[in-house]
């Protein structure tokens, strides 16, 4: 907005186009499985877009974003399971299987969690911040495990994918379309937010919190807002992921999940608009390809990650666009 199309903008458009093209091509050639892989990539990308807002633009290294991903997922699962068996959640609150109802509730629930976790974690910084966000996510993870009402350790299945007006969410390509559209909206929202007055304030706080204080910006409020928005986007991704699998479990809340969301962001490029999209796409691709090579593919994935961190710190988009990060 307001600036000419840079090389990176073209790369961003290209990345998103590739994702959509893969899904459409797979659909036309009748490969439903590949469409589902692309859907998974779009959902993980959305979770990464959420984290990127806190991590890339706000400089907050959250290692607990699985909390928001999982809360979004559980919001979806709980609403759907109550809708399926017709029981109310509380005295008057009913379940729902309408995505248009589920998404805002998932986003509000994860946003509230992000507000509480963010407000407390903001008191710390550096290594403490990383570990505190991690520990809060663990708190919710253990809560989910030891709370039998919604499946505890076994998770919660709901057998029918939720509805979206007019569309048939069971058709893989249609569900992909829904997820890809939300991803596109989140990317546009991120672009708008980061280039607004607020986004400039966020950037100022990330670069130098002392100086931004001196010009009248309150770092706490600015960072907390970014953290809450970030949690909400990741929570929406969680709700979509639950619907993709028709299943939620504490795995979505585990710290491995937090690590993976972080990997999507870093692999693609921290603080770059489409970094998470590229990162999630490559991750899913690697998972699929390496999984065919060896049963122990995660070791290979780990080695590749190591090489990337050690020798290509700007991530994939950093390599392609050749521009220093956060220029």
């Amino acid at each position: 907005m307001g600036q000419a199309f840079t090389r990176e903008t073209w790369i961003n458009l290209l990345i998103f186009t590739v994702l959509v093209a893969v899904a459409v091509f797979a659909h036309l050639s009748g490969q439903g499985f590949t469409v589902t892989l692309a859907t998974k990539a779009a959902i993980f990308a959305l979770a990464g877009v959420g984290l990127n807002l806190a991590l890339g633009y706000g400089g907050m290294i959250s290692f607990g974003h699985a909390a928001f991903f999982g809360i979004g997922g559980y919001a979806c699962g709980i609403l759907a399971s109550h809708a399926a068996n017709g029981t109310p959640i509380f005295a008057f609150l009913a379940g729902s299987n309408n995505m248009l109802v589920i998404w805002p509730i998932a986003m509000i629930a994860s946003g509230l969690a992000a507000l509480v976790i963010g407000a407390l974690s903001q008191r710390t910084s550096g290594v403490y911040f990383i570990m505190v966000t991690l520990a809060f996510a663990q708190m919710i993870f253990y809560f989910a495990i030891s709370w039998p009402r919604y499946g505890g350790e076994d998770g919660l299945s709901f057998y029918v994918r939720n509805n979206f007006p007019v569309m048939n969410t069971f058709a893989p390509i249609q569900y992909f379309a829904i997820c890809a559209t939300l991803l596109a909206l989140a990317l546009i929202a991120t672009a708008v937010i980061t280039q607004s007055r607020y986004g400039l304030a966020l950037q100022a706080v990330r670069q130098n919190s002392q100086r931004s204080k001196a010009v009248g910006i309150r770092p706490y409020a600015v960072l907390l807002t970014a953290f809450v928005l970030s949690g909400m986007i990741t929570g929406l991704a969680g709700a979509l992921y639950a619907d993709l699998n028709r299943f939620v479990s504490p795995t979505m809340l585990s710290w491995h999940m937090s690590g993976e969301i972080m990997v999507f962001v870093i692999l693609g490029g921290v603080g770059r608009l489409c970094g998470p999209v590229a990162g999630a796409g490559i991750y899913i691709l690697l998972e699929h390809v390496l999984g065919g090579v060896s049963e122990y593919w995660q070791a290979l994935l780990g080695l590749m990650l190591l090489v990337i961190v050690l020798f290509a710190p700007g991530g994939l988009i950093g390599l392609l666009s050749g521009r220093k990060r956060h220029a």
Partner: protein, 306 residues
């Protein structure tokens, strides 16, 4: 609640706390001296446990297994320090988190490849198995007392090492000013490798000890790692004293919470919901403790810096 049961649970909490201290001490040293966040610390714990189980099973000597756990974890620590960690000191925490997360994947899957997915079990030597009768008539497993003693010995040893030896002086100096001690002609790269290997050896020891009372399996280090982080956050980064006190707090809170909370809730509600609420609250209790500590003191109980 019978007094004996509470006493037994308190000892369990102490033992758990000592084990957490062995983990947290290495983490906090590496944080404090090198400013490095090492997620792969739990993998070193796992390496120690597997080394102990393998050597003890093939030679029949538990003690040899214990030595092997120290040696294997220290060696693994030194190797990853030289190959990977060394390149990360100057990077930001984000790169450190990602690289050490990648190391976890490599270690876990590598171990699964070599040893398979099934858990290994360690037999305790007769001299250490069985129970002893404590004053007051409590029967308590001897090996758990041994773990408490080992933890206490390590705490004293680390304190002596850091406050009384030349290596300790260098560690403290490295914490304060990296450039200055390098300028004084101290081989900082070697110092870092030594500190990292020392922390790794402690994690390996913890793995071997805990592997002897539970089982040895891939992924065993991860829950412990998170708890060690909680301990370090509560105690304050870089402080061995903080790690000890934080570990005791976490060990006691967790064990006593799990043992006593269901009974406490059963006083005023039916047993099944008391069990549910008690169990879920107990499993969150240490994280609540951590949140409270951070609200009061963001830098942890004994931490100097935020």
């Amino acid at each position: 609640m019978p007094v004996l049961l509470v006493a037994e649970q308190a000892l369990n909490g102490l033992q758990y706390g000592m084990m957490l201290f062995l983990m947290a001490a290495g983490l906090t040293l590496v944080f404090g001296v090198m400013g490095l966040i090492n997620l792969a610390h739990g993998s070193l714990y796992m390496v120690g446990a597997f080394a102990c189980a393998t050597v003890a099973a093939s030679t029949g000597w538990f003690w040899l297994g214990l030595l092997a756990s120290l040696a294997a974890a220290a060696a693994a620590g030194a190797i990853i320090e030289v190959l990977v960690i060394r390149r990360l000191y100057a990077r930001d925490h984000l790169d450190q988190v990602l690289a050490t997360f990648a190391l976890i994947l490599v270690f876990s899957e590598g171990t699964r490849w070599v040893f398979g997915s099934f858990p290994l079990y360690l037999n305790l030597p007769p001299a250490l198995s069985g129970a002893v009768t404590l004053p007051g008539g409590l029967q308590y497993p001897l090996f758990r007392l041994v773990i408490i003693a080992v933890g206490a010995a390590v705490a004293v040893g680390l304190w002596l090492l850091i406050s009384r030896t030349r290596l300790g002086i260098r560690i403290r100096a490295g914490e304060a000013d990296r450039e200055m001690i390098a300028a004084l002609g101290i081989d900082i790269a070697r110092l870092y490798t030594v500190v990292f290997a020392l922390g790794a050896a402690l994690a390996g020891l913890a793995g071997a000890l805990v592997g002897s009372i539970q089982s040895v399996q891939v992924g065993m280090g991860e829950p412990v790692l998170i708890l060690a982080f909680v301990v370090v956050v509560i105690g304050g980064i870089g402080s061995i004293k903080g790690a000890l006190i934080g570990a005791m707090l976490v060990g006691m809170t967790d064990t006593l919470g799990k043992a006593l909370l269901p009974g406490f809730f059963a006083q005023f509600m039916d047993v099944s919901s008391a069990n549910t609420i008690g169990a879920s609250l107990a499993s969150m209790l240490i994280y609540i403790l951590m949140a409270v500590v951070l609200i009061v003191r963001p830098q942890g109980l004994f931490g100097a810096r935020v």
